[in-house]
């Protein structure tokens, strides 16, 4: 314990010291140009061409229209394409891990997002809404947000990621519970030609990507991209829980991962059509759901595909109309190897197939109009029809069917938001959305935000939000015939109420600081529980939980590409009845990010340090703290268009573990040690 504390203190000291050194250093730098006139290039000194490339810090997802981050009715963080490149992020999970207050848990199949101290083991990322260019990605069976290698878009095609904390059900409905992650993909013109990329890394990992994008004038833009990834994964993974079954506790070649991701975007004037098709297959080394240990046959495939047609038209600068029609398809194919050897009989292994197909289509119509210069009103209507929600579970040979559950359902919603400029320094944003479900009826969720800017560079936000999450088809109906899991059609939606205060201060041009405090209360949380009667896993509205905490962040951006960010989060998520701290909920999170330009605009070092304090596992054990250090060296080579980057992840080979869920024998699952990646990018 003492050692852990000492380690943490040392870590925090290092973080604080590095940033404290940067501040005076940058102050010196800010002063030198005064003596040496006009050396410092500011916006005013930029050419028109350079200015056209300058990105303005805006967010779309917080209000469903483009607005400045300081005016958004939520606490917002942005990860840019530049961050993705310079910090060497391989997946969406990598990128989100760097964001203040967010942590990620990996069970060697899926990555699970933790926000505000909530990351319930067994929750399949259902409480965060994931959007790609405003299109909902969470499927209609598990309601999962895929953020690992199963995320359907190559991270290198991301222009920016908006992380909007807090409930946004008042705009988006279900899943927008703890927050919304809106991934905005690159414009065709941003590629401007052909890009080829290839990467090789530890665990025999190989990536390849070919993309083409162009704005052809006369309003026509086209982007086409295809990516593949293959990884052998860890050769050998040792789990002491299985050290007595003849395998020696080692799962061999059971961690492989492969995917493909296709993206097509076509835009013509006010219309844009996006098509995505992606699939990933992952071997499962943990022998989850009581399957056979040390086999390569237990694996899952997740496939996502969608077509999204969007029409966005501005009638004048006061009125904007957005219409969207979409069709989505999701496919899950799990193969689980079971040992069904009867006592005193020859060994018998059976492959159990666990499958799901989801199809849904729908549309959304939204009008944003400004009245009397003071009211910006957004009104919308949305309909979603789940034409197929099919779950199946059977043994392949001998054939035996446990589940064949076919459903369809529909829901619709109406929403209204008004952004009222009470005065030049005061904005009130009020939103309300009513959702109607066939299964449980209606729910209405408001959001209120008061944004006060007494001085330029000073922002106070007072936020209240309410959200719901409808139980998914999986939680309602899944049962595998009494093997591990049973259904619960009596589930109700879970509800959250949140209060948050944010204070942001911009100073000395280069710095942004923010301080926030929050209180979240969830009623009727849907959680996995094990029925004492029959020992089966079931979802139930079992808990009322609450979380409170605070966050601090300091961010700096300087000329020449130097930037840094330091954040600390304190959070305490507890069971409202017993006061017990929730499992998989670290009390402290600290992050440090730094990009150092080493050689003009040619060579950059991106460095990350992440700390999370110990978490409690389902069995009540402690995982111990985790310190992660990642570094990426990226360089523009002498050959125009050719870029090279080298990344090291978990550089100091820190041993850390994430809590397992009810389906795991392992109470805690060990994570990857040090690994590397080399990447080449060529554009022409």
């Amino acid at each position: 314990m003492q050692q852990r504390l000492a380690g943490m203190l040392r870590f925090l000291w290092t973080l604080a010291a590095s940033f404290l050194i940067l501040i005076p250093v940058s102050l010196c730098r800010a002063e030198t140009p005064a003596a040496d006139q006009d050396v410092k290039p500011d916006l005013m000194e930029m050419s028109v061409e350079e200015l056209m490339r300058v990105e303005v810090a805006t967010v779309f997802g917080a209000s469903k229209f483009e607005q400045q981050v300081t005016e958004a009715p939520a606490s917002v963080s942005i990860v840019s394409a530049d961050d993705i490149r310079k910090y060497g992020y391989r997946t969406l999970a990598d990128a989100l891990r760097s964001v203040r207050g967010i942590y990620v848990t990996y069970d060697r199949n899926y990555n699970y997002l933790g926000v505000r101290g909530f990351d319930r083991p067994g929750d399949l990322n259902t409480r965060v809404l994931l959007l790609v260019d405003g299109h909902r990605i969470n499927d209609n069976i598990f309601e999962s947000a895929p953020i690992g290698t199963e995320f359907p878009v190559d991270v290198e095609l991301i222009d920016r990621i908006e992380v909007i904390r807090g409930p946004s059900s008042s705009l988006y409905g279900t899943n927008a519970f703890f927050g919304v992650v809106n991934v905005i993909t690159k414009r065709p013109g941003a590629l401007d030609g052909v890009q080829l990329a290839t990467a090789a890394g530890s665990f025999e990992t190989w990536n390849g990507r070919a993309s083409f994008g162009k704005e052809l004038g006369n309003g026509l833009g086209i982007l086409l991209s295809g990516s593949v990834m293959q990884s052998e994964g860890a050769d050998r993974l040792y789990y002491s829980e299985f050290d007595n079954d003849g395998s020696g506790g080692t799962a061999r070649h059971a961690d492989g991962d492969q995917n493909y991701q296709l993206l097509a975007k076509l835009s013509y004037r006010d219309f844009s059509l996006t098509g995505v098709l992606a699939s990933r297959e992952k071997r499962i080394p943990t022998a989850s759901f009581d399957t056979v240990f040390d086999t390569t046959q237990t694996r899952t495939t997740d496939g996502h595909g969608f077509l999204d047609l969007k029409y966005a038209h501005s009638f004048d600068s006061d009125t904007e109309l957005t219409a969207r029609a979409f069709y989505d398809s999701y496919r899950y194919d799990g193969s689980y190897l079971y040992d069904r050897t009867e006592p005193d009989a020859p060994p018998s292994f059976v492959l159990n197939k666990d499958q799901a197909w989801g199809n849904w289509w729908g549309g959304e119509l939204q009008v944003t109009r400004t009245f009397f210069d003071r009211h910006k009103v957004t009104a919308g209507v949305e309909h979603r029809s789940n034409s197929r929600q099919h779950q199946r579970n059977y043994d392949a040979d001998p054939f035996f069917e446990y589940l064949d559950d076919k459903r369809s359902s529909a829901n619709w919603a109406l929403y209204l938001q008004d952004e009222i400029r009470i005065s030049d320094s005061l904005i009130l944003s009020a939103g309300l959305r009513h959702d109607r479900y066939q299964s449980f009826g209606g729910t209405t969720n408001p959001r209120l935000a008061l944004i006060y800017r007494p001085l330029e560079g000073t922002v106070f936000k007072l936020l209240y939000g309410q959200a719901f999450r409808a139980p998914g088809a999986f939680e309602y109906y899944y049962s595998d015939g009494g093997q591990t899991t049973k259904a619960n059609p009596a589930l109700k939606p879970e509800q959250i109420r949140t209060y948050e205060m944010v204070y942001e201060q911009y100073f000395l041009k280069q710095y942004r600081s923010s301080l926030s405090g929050f209180y979240y209360r969830i009623n009727d949380l849907i959680s996995q529980r094990i029925d004492d009667g029959d020992g089966l896993i079931q979802f139930a509205n079992v808990e009322d939980v609450e979380a409170r905490g605070g966050e601090l962040e300091l961010e700096g951006t300087w000329d020449g590409g130097l930037k840094g960010r330091l954040s600390y989060t304190y959070q305490r998520a507890t069971d409202a009845d017993t006061g017990a701290v929730l499992s998989n909920s670290p009390r402290h999170l600290a992050k440090f990010n730094l990009v150092l330009p080493l050689l003009r605009d040619r060579l950059f070092l991106g460095f990350e340090e992440q700390y999370q304090s110990s978490r409690i596992s389902l069995a009540g054990n402690r995982t111990g703290a985790a310190y992660l250090s990642n570094a990426t060296l990226s360089c523009r080579t002498a050959l125009p268009g050719l870029e090279l980057s080298l990344s090291g992840y978990n550089l100091f080979d820190y041993r850390y573990r994430d809590p397992g869920a009810a389906e795991h024998v392992q109470d805690m699952i060990r994570q990857d040690g040090r690994s590397f990646r080399a990447k080449l990018d060529y554009r022409f």
Binding site: Q3, R10, T14, L15, A17, S18, I21, V25, K40, P41, D42, M44, M46, V48, E50, L51, M52, R53, V54, E55, V56, T58, Q68, D82, D159, R187, S202, F203, E204, A234, D235, L237, T250, S314, D316, S317, D318, E456, Q510, R512, T557, W558, D559, G560, G561, L594, L596, P597, R600, D601, F607, Y627, S629, F652, D653, Y654, R655, R670, R674, S675
Partner: protein
């Protein structure tokens, strides 16, 4: 190609490594501080700027790339930017302090109505004036002022340069016909970069 793979030991990170990590980070910070990156000052980085800071910088560029007729600017020795309506720039216009364009000092003036506008070379028509746009342009286009705004349909209505805000970046369109009617010449460099040119 396996560069390294997870080994199976469950050892805590040795303290010396942790210290090394700390030392390295300090080193990076110090290294940066002693000026290693100061040489890179000329590189164009995308800092977090506000929309109107960028737009102000565009206005500054327009002063350089638009030529006023040979009988000169409104007031000799200065180049005057007029802001008509409710100023959305916050303190972004402070950046003009002490700036020179075409060898002349930049002056910023604020006006509440178009009738008050006098002695300006560039007139920025704020979003608050949208309802009165056609009336403003009728008066403004008579004097030799470059009219600029950031409103949909501005160029179509006879305005000269319209700033666009698309996908987080600022661009612009130019109504060359309107500019030449006021005997203003927009440089070809600028026209090349415009998203739309109305001839």
């Amino acid at each position: 190609m396996t560069l390294t793979s997870a080994t199976d030991k469950l050892l805590p990170r040795p303290a010396c490594l942790q210290r090394l990590a700390g030392a390295l980070m300090l080193l990076f910070a110090l290294w940066g501080g002693t000026g290693c990156w100061s040489v890179s000052a000329a590189a164009a980085s995308p800092p977090a700027s506000s929309e109107y800071q960028v737009k102000a910088a565009f206005l500054y560029n327009f002063m350089k790339f638009v030529e006023w007729p040979s009988d000169g600017l409104a007031t000799p020795g200065t180049i005057c930017l007029g802001i008509l309506g409710r100023d959305p720039f916050d303190d972004a216009l402070d950046e003009f302090k002490g700036k020179l364009a075409k060898g002349r000092k930049v002056v910023v003036l604020h006006f509440r109505s178009v009738e008050e506008v006098k002695g300006c070379d560039i007139l920025f028509i704020c979003p608050s004036e949208k309802g009165r746009l056609s009336q403003i342009l009728k008066l403004a286009n008579n004097s030799r002022m470059l009219t600029v705004a950031d409103q949909e349909g501005f160029c179509e209505a006879g305005g000269m340069i319209n700033l666009l805000f698309i996908k987080n970046r600022v661009g612009f369109e130019v109504n060359v016909a309107a500019a030449s009617r006021a005997k203003l010449r927009v440089s070809s460099q600028l026209l090349k970069l415009a998203r739309n040119v109305f001839e």
